[in-house]
Symmetry: C2
């Protein structure tokens, strides 16, 4: 399996989330690339995404601030790498906006490890085949991400995405 044209999937290093949803790729794309939409679904409730800044071009900023139910804020900042409208979105937190190498992540943020996410969308009947491959640099980070609840978290977020885009 190829996570991307250039990424060879490695089960020791990478996590994959795949699902068919009943909204078309264009709506999933809009949900991922429009701050007003992303704020509504990106973080599984009762967590919230309270800020979102997107500069949708290679090297551009992908910045969010998440908030815990207790009100604690967790800023995350990354950089877009590939943008193919309605088909493929790649970003990483290993680079800051403008491709600047990221500082080592401390334990104080949600994203205390580095990863690159490759989202691919494919038409599937009237809906969309949604795939996310999250690429890590070492088995420890992959395991940590998995144990944080990767599968459940991405599943809840996707449910929120679909519900939000249908309710607009």
């Amino acid at each position: 399996m190829m996570a991307s044209d250039t990424t060879q999937f490695d089960p020791m290093l990478d996590l994959v989330f795949e699902r068919i949803v009943d909204i078309p790729p264009s709506l999933v794309w809009a949900a991922w690339t429009t701050p007003e939409h992303l704020l509504k679904w990106f973080t599984p409730a009762p967590w919230q995404t309270i800020e979102c800044e997107l500069d949708l071009r290679p090297g551009g900023m992908f910045r969010t601030v998440m908030q815990s139910p207790e009100g604690e804020k967790f800023p995350n900042s990354g950089c877009y790498l590939e943008i193919v409208p309605n088909k493929k979105l790649v970003w990483t937190n290993a680079l800051e906006p403008g491709y600047r190498p990221a500082m080592p992540k401390g334990g104080e943020t949600c994203e205390s490890f580095l990863f690159t996410a490759v989202i691919t969308l494919e038409a599937h009947g009237d809906g969309c085949k949604y795939s996310a491959c999250v690429i890590h640099g070492n088995p420890e980070d992959c395991k940590k991400h998995k144990e944080m609840g990767f599968e459940e978290g991405w599943g809840k977020a996707l449910d929120q995405l679909v519900a939000h885009m249908k309710a607009r």
Copy 2:
């Protein structure tokens, strides 16, 4: 000054090398993107580049092995980010090929710090305005790179590039 469309140059973090050369952008581009050429100029003599593997697409591999005059080998591996033929080449060692976050660099390789390089080429009469901006994640890495002889190293390599492309 903008190092790239998305990178804001920071004198505490970034190193810039600029020069006018008397070969056109297309030849500089060929020198950077063709292994047979790159092997001839990439490493200031008496160091050599003894291996080179390029996969010229976003996410693709940029791999070299340098060799010291004493015969010690130093492998380096990075990932292309942006490719605009004859104009702009961006790569980083903060990501391995396929956008995989790089392991922390040990002191044992040439590149014991992370950086992103943005090479821009611009026609200048019959020649080329050559700019390299090397982007670091912290002031220590920038200082280390500078003290390793950034300016002299990139200058010697560029002299070799121009001499090689003229002699072909």
